[in-house]
């Protein structure tokens, strides 16, 4: 497998610290079964990348239903680290789990049945056709309440869209809750939002959704 690269960056919208076309995309699968678990793995990866000086990392989660019951895998891209450094980071994070599969370039480590899922996730990341983005360039500027124009001007997010449909064109206050999980859709990074109290908007995804009672058992 040849090294996937991001080739379709629209330079007019990928502002902020946007990705360079040569950013490699790697994948990590530790069989995360909840978004919260996947996010915590994503943050572990990003912290290590930051330590290496890579401040432009982008990490996304993807649902994979092959090789194992449906679960979340991670894809990671960063321009400011060498590929072997990225690979080391993923191995370091993956070492904390019973099962970890890692795909960097054509270099795969892990159970064979998990490889196809990672490959598909990396393709979605490269093509920006699917994936839920946990960490992205510019997200550190979007804390507290911001206006929706800032979201598109200061970060990699391309569009802000209401969950019931329709673009948010006007500048409207967005209470970020310091938790943004935009989704890739047809090459765009889209932040879905919803009407909230006092004429504000909030991101569709809630940082701490009401837990399911069954989990108490």
């Amino acid at each position: 497998m040849s090294l996937p690269t991001i080739s379709s960056i629209d330079q007019s919208t990928a502002t902020g610290a946007g990705l360079l076309p040569s950013a490699p995309v790697a994948g990590l699968d530790v069989l995360s079964h909840s978004l919260r678990d996947a996010d915590s793995v994503a943050h572990a990866v990003v912290h290590r990348l930051h330590d290496l000086g890579a401040l432009d990392a982008l990490v996304a989660t993807h649902v994979v239903a092959t090789g194992h019951e449906p679960h979340h895998v991670l894809t990671v891209s960063a321009t400011q680290v060498a590929m072997h450094e990225l690979q080391d980071v993923l191995h370091e994070v993956g070492a904390g789990f019973d099962v970890a599969s890692i795909l960097v370039g054509s270099d795969y480590a892990g159970p064979p049945e998990l490889r196809a899922g990672l490959e598909a996730a990396i393709t979605s990341h490269v093509d920006q056709t699917g994936g839920r983005v946990v960490v992205f360039p510019g997200d550190h500027l979007l804390v507290g309440t911001v206006d929706t124009h800032q979201v598109t001007s200061q970060s990699d997010v391309d569009r802000v869209v209401l969950v019931t449909g329709g673009e948010v064109a006007d500048a409207r206050p967005l209470v970020t809750r310091n938790f943004l999980r935009p989704l890739w859709h047809d090459g765009d990074l889209v932040l879905h939002v919803q009407e909230a109290i006092g004429g504000t908007l909030v991101p569709f995804e809630t940082p701490s959704p009401t837990p399911c009672c069954a989990d108490h058992a």
Partner: protein, 566 residues
């Protein structure tokens, strides 16, 4: 059944358990019972009958529309009069007690509140779990039996909230009887997703869910219990009830798996902080996970006018089930765990994991506004057209789909018929006639006669008629839309009170269609998700952290079908 009970069938209905098959004269109809002695719900029913001229000896067996329905005509031995041939009994099939890990109240706390707030029937549904299977399912039973004796005006079923393998939660409940606990316990031990570690969304676990329904059907066939039903709860909350799973339950055991919650409970959850949880209405605040059906849009994870997306979307998932020409009914329930603004707390010294219950609640002076639920009957009601005031009749009515639901006591009474020539069917009915026969929809509404429990008199503003083409079985079992389904007319009833009579000409019978009603107080309306040509003024998506449920009231009916005679 698997527990070795060998009791004979209770074929004559005179069971020797601790339940009451109440056959006494309905107090609503017994004019020796003064108005002051009736509950609010009973007063509402009596008012409807009075307004319609149906109260009194001469009215026995007469339907409100002046044509005797077969059921009413057959019941000449009874002195009851009815609304459209049935008693409409308000209920709630989704209630948690101190035997749930996230519950708090005694059974009797719920039952006496439910009775005071006007419920005629209710189902106790504690969560399936290791503790519940071992302890709660048995220990709750004497509490339920005692409540049946203490509060004879409300029928109390025992059920449980099933962790459906590979899917969401569902209500499972049985007719009272000597095996009610044994059947529920065996069901829980063998088919609950948490107890059997089958919650993951896999096809193997999906099959376990179907086996559970088959077990219930067998328990009824063997007469271990007189009846059993399953409703899926908060179906769109987490996107994990896929369309093919819902169709799978329905088609595997259509007499057991009969519907889902059209509106979830937790209706106080959207009240603004600090005097409310400030969450999503219904606690619908989730987003897709790896367990979710990938085809569902993000919009499906939220409520619309307090209703679940599957039901609130015209031409959506529910309508796609109805378009197959198969029954699937909606309900509205409290999912009551902990009550908004209540000042009681869980009993001190509780150890749920060990004991399987919380100690009895204790009084404090601090209202808890983070609680998101209402008492049963306080806000959500499922109205069932029953032949009489018995457990069996409630279950039959639910299975038949003679059901409409409302929030905030929006209506005091409702009678809906589909008529073609001499034939007429009530809610849930299927009318068959020759192609070309004119079909008419006839609606009688009694507007709210009393303030609701927010102390406001609800005002009905409009009634929508939804009509959909019957397209037959779907080829893709994951279908969740259906064509040729839309709001075909809207009646503006603003300012009208008392009995509102409406009639709508559905034209000459074609290849077959279904029709259902929906209505609202008109406070919050928006173009539906399918666009203005399908639903120009439907329920609006609920505002996060600012959804006052009392200012956004809806009623929904179950459907009726008109099909050409073959």
């Amino acid at each position: 059944m698997s527990h070795g009970h060998s009791h004979g069938p209770d074929s004559d209905g005179h069971t020797h358990d601790h339940t009451h098959e109440v056959d006494a004269l309905d107090p609503v109809l017994d004019l020796h019972v003064e108005d002051g002695a009736l509950t609010q719900a009973q007063l509402g029913r009596r008012a409807f009958l009075r307004t319609a001229g149906l109260l009194g000896a001469g009215a026995a067996g007469m339907s409100i529309l002046g044509t005797a329905s077969p059921a009413a005509a057959a019941d000449t031995s009874s002195s009851r009069s009815r609304i459209g041939g049935y008693q409409w009994l308000a209920g709630d099939h989704h209630i948690h007690t101190q035997y749930s890990p996230d519950g708090q109240y005694r059974v009797i706390d719920h039952v006496q509140h439910a009775n005071a707030f006007g419920l005629d029937w209710m189902v106790i549904t504690d969560h399936g779990s290791a503790q519940h299977a071992k302890i709660g399912v048995e220990k709750v039973n004497p509490d339920i039996v005692a409540a049946r004796d203490a509060v004879p005006g409300t029928l109390v079923f025992q059920g449980l909230e099933w962790n459906i393998p590979a899917a969401e939660h569902g209500t499972v409940f049985v007719h009272p009887g000597k095996n009610e606990v044994a059947v529920l316990k065996a069901f829980e031990n063998n088919y609950d997703g948490v107890v059997t570690s089958t919650t993951a969304s896999t096809s193997v676990n999906e099959a376990v869910a179907v086996s559970g329904l088959q077990y219930l059907a067998m328990a009824v066939a063997n007469r271990d219990v007189k009846d059993a039903l399953m409703f899926a709860n908060h179906p769109a909350r987490k996107g994990i009830d896929s369309p093919h799973e819902i169709r799978g339950w329905r088609d595997a055991e259509p007499t057991i798996a009969v519907g889902f919650e059209g509106a979830p409970g937790h209706q106080a959850a959207g009240l603004a902080a600090p005097f409310g949880p400030g969450s999503g209405r219904g606690f619908y605040d989730n987003s897709p996970t790896s367990a979710s059906f990938p085809g569902y849009p993000l919009a499906s994870y939220r409520t619309y006018g307090g209703f679940d997306w599957m039901t609130a979307t015209v031409g959506g998932l529910w309508d796609s089930l109805l378009a197959e020409g198969k029954p699937w009914w909606i309900t509205a329930n409290s999912d009551s765990h902990q009550i908004w603004g209540d000042t009681s707390v869980r009993g001190a010294g509780s150890d749920f994991p060990v004991n399987g219950f919380y100690n009895d609640p204790e009084h404090t002076t601090v209202p808890v506004f983070g609680n998101g639920d209402f008492w049963p009957g306080y806000y959500s009601r499922t109205h069932v057209g029953a032949e009489d005031f018995t457990y069996a009749a409630v279950m039959r009515g639910l299975r038949a789909g003679r059901v409409w639901v409302d929030h905030g006591r929006l209506l005091s009474g409702l009678d809906v018929r589909l008529r073609a020539g001499e034939q007429e069917v009530p809610l849930g009915g299927v009318l068959t006639a020759r192609r070309g026969t004119p079909v008419r929809l006839i609606i009688r509404i009694l507007t709210a006669q009393f303030p609701n429990w927010s102390q406001a008199l609800p005002k009905l503003a409009k009634v929508d008629v939804v009509r959909g083409k019957v397209t037959g079985p779907v080829s893709d079992r994951d279908t969740f839309t259906t064509p040729d389904t839309s709001v075909v007319t809207t009646f503006d009833v603003t300012g009208r009170t008392g009995v509102i009579e409406l009639s709508y000409d559905l034209g000459a019978l074609d290849d077959g269609f279904f029709v259902r009603l929906r209505g609202s107080d008109g406070n919050r309306l928006a173009v539906g998700l399918g666009g203005a040509s399908i639903d120009p003024a439907g329920p609006a998506i609920d505002i996060v952290g600012d959804a006052d449920p009392w200012k956004d009231l809806w009623f929904y009916t179950n459907p009726m079908w008109a099909l050409p005679r073959r």
